[in-house]
Amino acid sequence: MSAPPILQVDGLSKAFDVSAPILRRLLHGEGRTYLRAVDGVSFEIPKGKTVSLVGESGCGKSTVARLVVGLYTPTEGKVVFDGHDMAQVQGRAEMAKLRRRFQMIFQDPYASLNPRWRVLDIIAEPIRAHGLMSDDTAIARRVGELLEQVRLSAKDGEKFPHEFSGGQRQRISIARALASNPEFLVCDEPTSALDVSVQAQILNLMKDLQTELGLSYLFISHDLAVVYHISDYLGVMYLGRLVEVGPAREIFRDPQHPYTRMLLDAIPDLEMTGKKRIPVAGEVPSPIAPPPGCHFHPRCPFANERCRTETPLPVHIGERDVRCHAVEEGRLEAEVAAAKAKAPAAVA
């Protein structure tokens, strides 16, 4: 990673105030309650690469996406976009200049397009908002190009969103995101609402656009197979913390953190190899009162006293950062092997 990264996230945290109403707090003598949705997350995105964040619902991955594009302000930590600390940017004009360079694609293509606007106006909105062009015929020509870039027809600009299927709508969202010539896209579950055959079309399109335009992606997903297909780097989140981050292929080949191992084991096995699995019990605890120490310890078959009390710090292993005491102590491999030997053969 010699070139400076397009995005750097450093010690990012976000706490939401989820306190009871003030009257209730006064009557019952309750204090304020905070939900730490994101807790000390650090990673960077090299230019032209795709970094994915995966995790189960409530792990904070979408909150990270919103923090990165500035829809939320961080409680702690910073977001550095192409060398500019987003919190230090002075004045609206400076901010607008930076904002043009990154855009977001949302999960639900039915909710993210205004049903009363024509597609032409939807896609032209960022062009007009950033004052990139003022001549209407020039804008129409540019929208036509964008529509063709996402493999729709230039004539589709005259239509309304309801005339399109889910996959076509997601293409329109992508065209809108591309309208301001961004370098970096944040994609929050862009294919989760789509059928698999349509998902394949969108994923192929995203990869093509990355090659054509040199885009960098922050990709949020819960689907590990999709993530495997699209990512260069991967971050695994659990209850607000990044438990493992590093090159995607490496993590898939040789996961370190017990949670990553569990997630990879839980992928339904399309090839029916009947692989051995370590059974994992339990569910994600409430993020309002996360377990002390390592958040994963109540579900972790390898947890010991230290895991229950002390928060693990990132340990560097090659290009990877892992937050796990057992990995740090070097006891995990032997214990996993022992557990696998005991595990019942294949869930079948």
């Binding site: 394949a200 192929n204 590990l224 197979a225 992928i267 339904p268 399309l270 569910e283």
Partner: protein, 330 residues
């Protein structure tokens, strides 16, 4: 399972939705059987008619949807022509159901225990104490810890995965012959999904129930089902043993579908792409409904509609496998 009588036998089922602009056929001439202890997976993309097939079998179609043709047989008894009252007794007792969202399947105003005992007592001659004991046993069986305490809690006090376990307990409580599970794991996180699938499969084996598992997730099917039916535009495109359909698809649609699923460990620059999307019910193409998107279409595909025909160990509705005609020509 050819010599044994199937638990569920669906013959030429047809479901229609009359609308002002004409009648839409959501399920068109669908036939399949599910044997005892067997799990039949039904996959397809949205709009393929898989859920409608399930709801038609248990006769819970939302009006104006109606069964326009075909027969449904359960254990050798025809059930599609029963009266609403007779059908009510079949549902719950002989056919159990598990739906996608466990929160909407449970009544938020009643404790889990009350819902379970009520169902048990509706279908079985048991006293309340006996029914309650049975309910606690069931909750234990589906893996809910401290079942004797949790039975008196309300659905909102359970997490998503635990709620789905309650729904499974509810479906199994009177030992039904048949379970229809419509996207039972779609609303759950991956780590919970694996637990629920395992549970469903184990319980059905133990209780000897036949299962119709409706899902859009091929991975779930691969893990659970014995046979699989792939639906497209209201019809079965291919049906066969799960390993055969997944590894050696016979219908071009199944082939495209399998290719479009990203797989961990497969390094591909691009996924296989089926151009276009599933047709709307108002504009189902003539001939084979898949022909406008099919890379292997030829002369007759847009004119004649293919029925299911033998293709290896599976059956596929595709003219590529029309050996009967080829032989007749010889």
């Amino acid at each position: 399972m050819a010599d044994k009588r199937p638990v569920l036998d669906v013959r030429n089922l047809r479901v229609e939705f009359p609308t002002r602009r004409g009648t839409l056929t959501a399920v068109d001439d669908v036939s399949f059987q599910v044997g005892e202890g067997e799990v039949l997976g039904v996959v397809g993309e949205s709009g393929a008619g898989k859920s409608i097939t399930g709801t038609a079998i248990i006769r819970l179609l939302e009006p104006p949807g109606r069964i326009a043709g075909g027969e449904v047989w359960l254990d050798g008894e025809r059930i599609d022509n029963l009266t609403a009252e007779q059908m009510r007794r079949v549902r719950g007792k002989r056919i159990g159901m598990v739906f996608q969202d466990p929160l909407t399947s449970l009544n938020p105003l009643y404790t889990v225990g009350r819902q379970l005992t009520e169902t048990i007592m509706t279908h079985q001659e048991l006293t309340e104490t006996q029914a309650r004991k049975h309910a606690i046993d069931l909750l234990g069986e589906v893996g809910i810890p401290a079942a004797d305490v949790r039975i008196d809690q309300y659905p909102h006090q359970f997490s998503g995965g635990m709620r789905q376990r309650v729904v499974i307990a509810l479906a199994l409580c009177v030992n039904p012959r048949m379970i229809i599970a419509d996207e039972p794991t779609t609303a759950l996180d991956v780590s919970i999904q694996a637990q629920i699938i395992k549970l469903l499969k184990r319980l059905c084996e133990e209780h000897g129930a036949a299962v119709m598992l409706i899902t859009h997730d091929m991975g779930v099917i691969a893990e659970t089902a014995d046979r699989v039916a792939v639906m497209y535009a209201g019809r079965i495109a291919e049906i066969g043993p799960v390993a055969e359909v997944i590894r050696n698809a016979k219908h071009p649609y199944t082939e495209g579908l399998m290719g479009s699923i990203p797989v961990v460990g497969h390094d591909l620059a691009r996924l296989t792409q089926i151009e276009g999307s599933m047709p709307r019910l108002t504009e189902i193409p003539t001939g084979c409904a898949f022909h406008p998107r099919c890379p292997k279409r030829f002369g007759r595909c847009d004119k004649q509609r293919p029925e299911l025909m033998q293709a290896g160990a599976s059956r596929a509705a595709c003219w590529l496998h029309d050996t009967a005609h080829a032989e007749a020509a010889e």
